[in-house]
Structures are given as structure tokens and as C-alpha cells.
């Protein structure tokens, strides 16, 4: 997908920064959106567990304890969500909302392995995102370590 094709769908005022690295505000809102999505998925997962438990033991349904299971559920849900999103379309739901895309050092879609490692990094060390505020190239810690970038890309199509 070329830049000229994408420009057909992008407003004129937004074309000049397509392909540039995204800043902290955009990325933070995208990350917050993804967090909301993950929380929704975890809530759905817990509801399913509770529903199954209620069907099996209607008198004593089991509700998963939030204390120990929440971090595990966060990792179990968010890592595949982030990795598959980046490896398939280059965008999570948050990226799609804010018009950004994760690319590798060649500007192409990241592979599944790289996407998985990046997802683990982002989940384990989310504060690394704020490094893009002081980074001259607007890169988070994860981007610096894995040589990835988050760019503005308002094009709706699936990136190559």
C-alpha cells in the first residue's frame, strides 16, 4: 500500500505527517484504549468462568479470585491480543482508533515473534512508553530495544 493510495482517504490537513513517528499523547490514548479493551476481555473471561461454574455447581458457583488471577489474566489476555494485532494488521484497536501503526526497522509489518516480544515488554514494563517524550526519535524503551516504531497511518486498509 503506497502513500499515494493512502492519501486518497486521509484529510488534506493530516497528510503531511503520515508516516512520521507518533508522539506521546497519541500513543498514550491508544494504549489506554487497548487497556480498556483488555479489561473488557478479562471481564468477559471471568464472566464465562463464572457462568460455567454456575452451570456445573448452581448452589456454589466459583468466582475467580481477583488477587492472584488478575495479573495472570492480564498477561494471558493482553499479550496475545497485542501480538496478534501487530503481527496481522499492524494495529491494535487503540492504534486503529488513533490512526497509528507499529512497524519494524524497515517500515514493514512486524513478524509474530517480534510482535510477541514487544507485547511482553509493553505489558511487563508499560512505563517504557514515556521514553518517547524525551527520545529525539519519539521511541519508547520497547522501540529502542526492538528497533520498532509507531507511526501515524490513517489509512484504513491492511498494511503490507
Amino acid at each position: 500500500m503506497t502513500a499515494s493510495e493512502g492519501a486518497l482517504h486521509v484529510p488534506a490537513r493530516a497528510r503531511r505527517f503520515q508516516g512520521e513517528r507518533a508522539g506521546i499523547v497519541t500513543r498514550f490514548i491508544a494504549a489506554a484504549t487497548d487497556l480498556a479493551v483488555v479489561i473488557g476481555l478479562i471481564a468477559g473471561l471471568y464472566a464465562v468462568i463464572f457462568g460455567v461454574s454456575f452451570i456445573l455447581r448452581p448452589r456454589h458457583p466459583h468466582w475467580p479470585e481477583l488477587g492472584w488471577s488478575l495479573p495472570a489474566a492480564l498477561i494471558i489476555v493482553s499479550v496475545p491480543y497485542l501480538a496478534l494485532s501487530w503481527a496481522t494488521t499492524g494495529r491494535t484497536r487503540g492504534n486503529a482508533l488513533l490512526g497509528t501503526r507499529v512497524v519494524n526497522r524497515r517500515g514493514r509489518r512486524v513478524g509474530l515473534l517480534l510482535a510477541t516480544v514487544r507485547a511482553v515488554f509493553c505489558v511487563v514494563f508499560p512505563v517504557g512508553l514515556f521514553w518517547c517524550v524525551v527520545s529525539s526519535k519519539k521511541r519508547s524503551v520497547q522501540d529502542v530495544l526492538l528497533r520498532t516504531s509507531v507511526i501515524y497511518d490513517w489509512e484504513h486498509g491492511v498494511p503490507e
Binding site: 524497515r106 529525539s136 528497533r147
Partner: protein, 211 residues
Amino acid sequence: MQLQAATDPSAPPPELNDVTVVVDIAADVASAAAHSAIVIARAGKQIAAPFVGLALRPPLVPQKYWPQTKLQAMAARGRERSHDQAKLLSDAIGIVVAKVISMIDMNEIIAKIDIENVIAQLDIEAIVGRVDIAALAKQVIEDVDLPEIIRDSSDAVVSETVAGVRMRAVEADERITRIVDKVLLRKREIYTTRTEQPQQPQPEDAAHDGV
């Protein structure tokens, strides 16, 4: 009826001097003869098939000299000629019709018609009464596809909203970048949302080069 007598076994046998009995006998004989002819024809076809095949496709003769080939060519020519004749006839009819139409003076015909009289004789109310307005309105509403129009409008509104959110975020990104650059005494050549200077075209992968 003789037919009933023939099909009803309890009916008394007809008199042989009756004319209709003679006709029935003739019909029976004709039917038997036709049946025999069909049987003989089928048998003959089976017997003659190898000879006919041999005559149409004689061995040791090149295919282009086969009688069958010649007959097929004749059939093809016949088909072609009949098609040409049909086209010729169609063209001729078209020319004749066009000529007839050109000879008719429509203005003169219309001038002779008393439109006012025709309108006066029309019972408009009866015509309108026959029209099912409700069904017509329902059909029009179904054809308009209102939900699709509403969906398109909603999509446009959502796209506008998303574009607005994205633009605000980009502007905020730039504001923060400028502040940080000032604090760190860093100079950046191009801010993505700066409008004071004309935009410089950049290569597609400008953001991806280098680490």
C-alpha cells in the same frame, strides 16, 4: 359408444354390419401395422447402422473425403445461409418500418386530436381511486433504503469524530515535543503540524531509517 363397448367386457358385442365396427377394425389394423413398422424400423436401424456408418465414413479414405464430412459441410452452409437470410429480412423490415414512420406526419395527427375533449372525458377521480396509494408509498419507502442512508450518515459522523480526535492528539504531540525540545535545547528541523513553512516532501520510509 363403441369405445365404451370395447372397454366394458359386460357390454354386448356390436353387430358386424355396423359401419363404426368397420372403422374400429380398420383402426386396429392400422395400429398393428404401425407397431410392426416401428419394430421393423428399429431392427432395420440396428442392422443397417454398421453399413450406414461404413458408407458415411469409409475406411482407408481420408476424413476430408468422407461423405459424412461433405454432408456436415453442406449442413453448415445451409445454417449460415438461413442466418444471412434472416438478417437480410430483419434489415429489410427495419428499412420499411423506418420509411413508413418517416411518411407519417405526427404533428398533423396530434393537431387533429381534441385534447380538451379527451381530458373532459377522463374520470380522474376513478383513476386515482384505483391506485393503492398506501402500497405505492410503502414500495417507494422500501426502494429508498432509508436504513442504508442513515448508516452512511452515521459512518460519516463517526469518521469526522475520529479524525477530530486524531488531529487533536497529533497537535498535542507536537506541543509536547516542542516544549521538550526547548527544555533539552534540542533543534528539530520539521514539526509535522507546523504550517508556517511550506511542506517538504519526504520519502515514505523517512521515519523508519536509522535507529
